[in-house]
């Protein structure tokens, strides 16, 4: 039951993009097409899940036992950067053209504050290992849901008569705000 609550909360209620407003850069930058948005969402979900695992290990096996909690931010930054570097190396090894095509795509995940926020929130809530992984995974699913939804709306917006000054990021931010208000309606689910 606890795990289900964590899952629903991270996907719908405390969605990283629409509740915390973290990870806005890829949310706006890679949300022009549904296909690209979905693959970006999967990549973020994977990095979030693996970050949750490694940051839990570092926090509970090194930082807390040795009283080094104040190093959380520095160590989590290091962990996230190393992980994305590893993923990049792996992709480069298995498919050089895919690595060439991704370009800024993966570093965009490294500098995504949603990943950092995830590690810090998981540490703050003192989740167990399994809870941390479920939290990481469901936060990624929540991110994917938000980015795919906005990509769908933006594809339709291409056909709409948007006033010139609002075209591009302007209308995307307005849509994101309306989506955040709509997602607020889910708050009653977990009271």
């Amino acid at each position: 039951m606890e795990l289900a609550a964590i899952f629903i909360s991270a996907v719908l209620v405390q969605n990283f993009v629409l509740y915390y407003f973290l990870g806005i850069c890829p949310f706006l930058g890679v949300s022009k097409k549904i296909d690209s948005a979905f693959s970006m969402g999967l990549a973020v979900t994977f990095v979030m899940s693996i970050t949750a695992v490694v940051s839990w290990l570092i926090n509970n096996l090194i930082l807390i036992p040795f009283g080094l909690d104040y190093l959380q931010i520095v160590s989590f930054i290091l962990v996230i950067a190393s992980l994305v570097q590893l993923v990049e190396m792996f992709i480069r090894k298995i498919s050089p053209p895919l690595y060439q095509a991704l370009g800024i795509y993966l570093p965009l995940i490294t500098t995504n504050c949603a990943i950092m926020g995830l590690a810090l929130i998981a540490a703050l809530n003192e989740y167990s290992f399994v809870e941390t992984v479920i939290f990481g995974f469901s936060s990624g699913i929540g991110f994917t849901l938000a980015i795919v939804l906005i990509a769908g709306i933006r594809e339709q917006l291409d056909l709409a008569d948007v006033p010139e000054p609002l075209k591009g990021a302007g209308i995307a931010l307005i849509v994101a705000g309306i989506m955040a208000l709509a997602f607020n309606g889910f708050i009653g689910m977990l009271t």
Binding site: S36, S39, L42, K93, I94, S95, A101, Y105, V133, F137
Partner: protein
């Protein structure tokens, strides 16, 4: 008047200059329009470069040679397929590994956290090895951009 809501199948195309031929691949220099980076993933290769030009390895079925101005097509749909396969496999392995490890804790005298961690790491390594073996075979050269037209022939054609 109402706009037509017909969705056109867009293909990502670009122009470039062949600067080298390596094995079966041509190296094409494309102009980088930095201001349009936000709109086109193909421009990402330009980020962080001082010059306003980027280099791409592309398939060369038309046998273009050095000096030719060519049109290239970027297989964006294939990139998405490849990414979904890659991260989907790793994510599934991660979850099943952790779940399997958790269930194993009822059978062996280890804590649920320890078995979950072991299961997860093992599953991710196995799926990584699986991808390493099969990914190349599945996509082969399909992920390279392709030269679709020679716009201006260079001196090499004589």
């Amino acid at each position: 008047m109402k706009k037509k809501r017909r969705k056109k199948k867009r293909k990502m195309r670009d122009k470039g200059l062949v600067i080298a031929i390596k094995n079966n691949l041509a190296q094409v220099e494309v102009q980088c329009l930095i201001e349009s980076c936000g709109r086109c993933s193909a421009r990402s290769l330009c980020t962080g470069q001082d010059k306003s030009k980027g280099h791409l390895d592309v398939q060369n079925p038309l046998k273009a040679c050095v000096g030719d101005e060519v049109e290239i097509e970027i297989p964006e749909a294939k990139y998405n397929q490849a990414l979904i396969l890659l991260f989907g496999t790793l994510l599934t392995a991660l979850l099943f590994g952790m779940g399997g490890g958790y269930l194993l804790s009822f059978l062996i005298p280890l804590s649920a956290s320890a078995t979950s961690i072991l299961g997860l790491i093992l599953a991710v390594i196995i799926s990584g090895a699986f991808l390493f073996r099969h990914f190349k075979r599945k996509f082969h050269d399909q992920l390279y951009p392709v030269i679709t037209d020679i716009l201006n022939k260079g001196d090499c054609h004589g």
